[in-house]
Symmetry: D2
Subunit: 253 residues, 4 copies
């Protein structure tokens, strides 16, 4: 069996808010996109998918974390439900730049979400006391954390690597972009060169389970002593109310 699993499992990680699966339709579509890179005899309707999510999360008496995995070799599907643990990150986290570069799109489509990616495996070994490590691309562009997306603030503008930088289109990333638009914070999605990180005024990460995570320190560079900068703070305050009320996050649930 381990040979089959070691061939790779495409996957998605979801969470609940108020015990309802969040952004299920977006996760379903991304899973299907990952599936499309392989000839897997797999079909599951969104309704079936949501139904399993609902039944599983009901078994847990608080917020859940759900991992959905599908073997690219055997089309076996796994759902793993567990209680969601969110460590408090409001005082900010430390991150550092990994020596390992994001696998480039010529080698693997950035939108394929699959276990066993050797860049992630190796980069995570460097995390140590940090919250996450930042993977840059082979041209020195900022890509993403090993489980998060990256945002900067510079002179009042919010900046994040574009999809063309070779990153996964994180669902929290997308929600933050929509929130920034709503709040009329100027936004740049573009190639971000690694040295721009050290010139930024603010920096934060985004990922499903914790939402917006302010970065206090990047390598030797300190972003703040006491409190995250104003744009990060504004986005953090508004994030949960915004996503809870954005209809597209609740399609079908």
């Amino acid at each position: 069996m381990f040979e089959e699993v070691s061939q790779g499992l495409v996957y998605e990680t979801l969470r609940t808010y108020n015990r309802v699966p969040f952004a299920a339709y977006k996760h379903y579509n991304r899973l299907m996109r990952s599936v499309s890179f392989f000839d897997i005899p797999f079909s599951m309707t969104f309704e079936e998918f949501v139904d399993i999510l609902k039944k599983g999360t009901r078994q847990i008496d608080r917020e859940s974390r759900i991992k959905v995995l599908l073997s690219v070799k055997t089309a076996e599907l796994f759902f793993v439900f567990s209680p969601l643990n969110i460590s408090s990150v409001e005082e900010g986290v430390n991150v550092k730049i990994s020596k390992i570069r994001r696998i480039p799109d010529l080698s693997t489509p950035p939108s394929l979400k699959i276990t066993g990616r050797t860049d992630i495996l190796l980069a995570r070994r460097e995390i140590g006391e940090c919250y996450d490590v930042i993977l840059t691309g082979v041209n020195g562009q900022v890509c993403e954390g090993s489980f998060s997306n990256v945002f900067l603030v510079k002179e009042g503008r919010l900046i994040t690597p574009s999809i063309e930088s070779g990153i996964l289109d994180g669902i929290t990333r997308e929600n933050v972009i929509k929130l920034a638009n709503r709040l009329e914070i100027p936004l740049e999605e573009r190639f971000v060169w690694v040295w721009e990180l050290f010139e930024a005024d603010e920096m934060f990460l985004t990922h499903t389970s914790a939402g917006i995570v302010p970065v206090r320190r990047l390598n030797d560079h300190l972003f703040f002593e006491e409190e995250p900068g104003p744009i990060t703070s504004t986005l953090m305050e508004n994030f949960e109310p915004f996503v809870l009320n954005l209809e597209e996050n609740w399609v079908g649930t």
Copy 2:
């Protein structure tokens, strides 16, 4: 368990000749090199390693194929023994160039032999009727097949991608290089650009289970109609006697 396995298994694939494990010491050293990229609480002496190989192969009444796998997460070690099936390849095989590029060394050390490499996973989907596909690197250099190394012959010279091209140092590749030296065939280990394949006089692959595999056709380019070219033929004829008599292939067995 699948989460642990899907983290990756470093591995080696061996075969027997005359029911004795071949090049066991070289495979052991390569396995240990793969292990060294991780903090795995694993130690096994070469003597213990060989002992298991010998006991396993004794259970099979013909030549064996042995796969050794080690979980980078749990340090669990697996040995899989199976009868060796070698399809006849003397009339030559068809190969083609994969659209997928070898993951570059900035993203993953080429010498790390691990399951779940997404480039291999994706490239193998293109094999179809072919024997193997050739992965080029992100700069267009020839790297290797998805389970083999690549050799060319041009104007009497044997040419193979250098280790610096970003390839695994195949043990059969190394044996062929030593054989070529013994036979005084001029040899070039260097960056080989992909268009050189279409100008070559002969081409062959090497891998553990089948040794030297002559390439008859690469994409639309036909190398031979009836018989492999002279240098490929010479190497094929001499390969087995040579490796069977090369002492370094039998250390400790």
Copy 3:
């Protein structure tokens, strides 16, 4: 003076048809685009530009070749008029792939047309008996000849590297694309990998002075013995009538 000139001259090369400057407006715009990469105190209206072209070509009693150069250091402008020599290329030409890679867009914008590009300088040293050499990009994509653009035909489809491949948007290239659309020949503008050249049915180059130039041989690969393939031939026959009647090529002249 040589220090100033050696700083680089942005330039354009034009020709006349029926002694009228061809595609003058397109060349003017490209020149202005090259100028825009520098802080050159230079302004010249299109009318002034055309006026000089007309006066110069009148001095030559047959078709002219016009080189326009502008020093990026001093803004000095040079026009060089000479008789146009077109060698007959109908029987096809030989080309080969250069070892030198096109300077990538991270290092220099592909649309900057300037003297002294070291990749062109070095690649041209390899031309020898060939008509031109083909420069590939640092990822192994086909870019362009040292003074031409590249087209392939494969199974009835016309294929040419996209602008995103890192090439100059040749004016003859653009005219051929429009002609293909007019003739309803299916067209692909995309990344073309270098090995696709060796699988093509037909290949041709385009450049200002000779229009469409069929390729007979690429390295060791022969495209035709006697006559260019059908799509190349069709395009060649229709090229001159088409461009002579396309209004946009005669704006302002």
Copy 4:
């Protein structure tokens, strides 16, 4: 004539110390190496070369700057002698990272020193109020300034990009490396990633006319307020006595 010059001039820039041409033999050898990339009908002995240098510098009543240029098209050779102006740099200079990447070795050999390099031309447009800009390579490695080499100090170790990073082997760089060895300062020649610049304790540039130039500020990152760090200071104090007494710098003069 401008067409010929615009083809490129290989060149060297020298200076005198005590009105004697410095490191003439090293510059002669580098010029000959640049010449070797072309088929230039050029031969000049080192003795002839030095003789011209000596005669030219005698005409100037203080230290000289000498530029030697050779047309790769016509083999014409130019010597330009001028008074050496050294601005005081002891209080440190500001530099920044250029958006333009060093042309990679696949496109042009880094050791070819030639006018008209488009990366340098474009990068210098960004200098503004800075002393120089730093060019990184296409993989995000630190390469060199537009006319200087780069050194860092981190935890008492001197670090400088290796030749394999794709840089010119500056003669002042080489002298500083020898001086560091003499002073037993630990030295690393290796790939230096651009973010390491922002973690360094000290940074300085080297080039022929000014020797060692301490960097005070890189982009927003301040290295020192009042005085260069201890290793930079030590190297600066010892540089001139060291190079004036190093015999290899005075061969033939």
